[in-house]
Subunit: 139 residues, 3 copies
């Protein structure tokens, strides 16, 4: 058994950008050479999050609507008064969705459903360069 | 230290079915023989999720109402237009709740509160056979 | 590689209390001596949860409003009929937010954003002593 830490950097387009990162994670797993164990993915920052869903246009739209219902862009957020950067909605969406996922690995493959992709949710209102920490634990 | 992967299969009744899987996880832990470490649980598929709550009839009803407020069954979801399977609500609920949990283990026991059970949430609108991946890491 | 389990106990003030536990976690990591791997944090109990956000007064208020919109205190919860303890809202908030986080560690430091703190959310309607299980996996 061993532990290995790797990073992935991704450019996002800003608010509402949902990126399918499954292939990037599998490639990193191939490079790390772990056959069985866990790949923990964690996004640095407080206006992005990680989850899994079926990555198709309909659901991409539905997820955007879900986040808008939970934390509307047009609401007043006290955070916006603190910094004047008008992205309070981004922060609360990210905090509720959560910054990390631990994914099972077997035979060198991420174990996911056929219609289950790993998605980085960019909630910030501007394009960002995102840093993901990948921690591989296993043998 | 070692890593071990096991699977649990569960039959659900479809939308709104919440299953207490705590005892199943403890039994699997007993079989894996890990005394200290983590049990990561991950549900394959994009219309189910995992969390913990006090598994009693009142809260089971309350959780159902929470999910219905967040993503009502009767809303229009773009996903439904993609496949015509009318379970868009299931997907967005699952994505928000999340597919996995990492549970601490000590002295061969899952460390949970007395009133804290591990629950599989079936959000799909039909009965499903669910596959859970259990990854045991520890010694 | 090794696995080590530690506990942190925290006193909260009851409903809505959000505690920045980042420094406590880093201190525990220093004591555990893990240089690379994961720190899994799990809160015992069913009326508290863990997440990350920028810990400043504005967002603390915004997160409180988010939870109130999702599961209002004044709603009727079936759970309240079960026990008569009027904290149904606490349970559903905790179940949606989730009880755990797996944090990456490198060079003996938690890898977090500058504006990303680890937060314990106390949802119960009374002051509580909280037990957090810290599981360190790495080398």
């Amino acid at each position: 058994m061993s532990v290995t830490t790797r990073r992935i950097y991704l450019n996002t387009k800003g608010s509402g950008d949902l990126l399918n990162i499954t292939d990037r994670l599998q490639t990193a797993l191939d490079e790390a050479g772990i056959k069985e164990g866990l790949l923990n993915v964690f996004v640095i920052g407080s206006t992005a999050a990680l989850t899994t869903f079926e990555f198709e246009d309909g659901l991409i739209a539905d997820m955007g609507e879900l986040y808008e219902r939970i934390a509307p862009v047009g609401r007043h957020y006290a955070h916006d008064d603190t910094w004047g950067d008008a992205n309070g909605f981004s922060h609360v969406r990210a905090a509720l969705q959560g910054p990390g996922l631990a994914l099972p690995v077997e035979n060198g493959r991420l174990l996911l459903g056929t219609w289950q992709q790993v998605v980085l949710a960019e909630f910030d209102n501007q394009a960002r360069k995102r840093e993901l920490i990948l921690t591989f634990i296993g043998g």
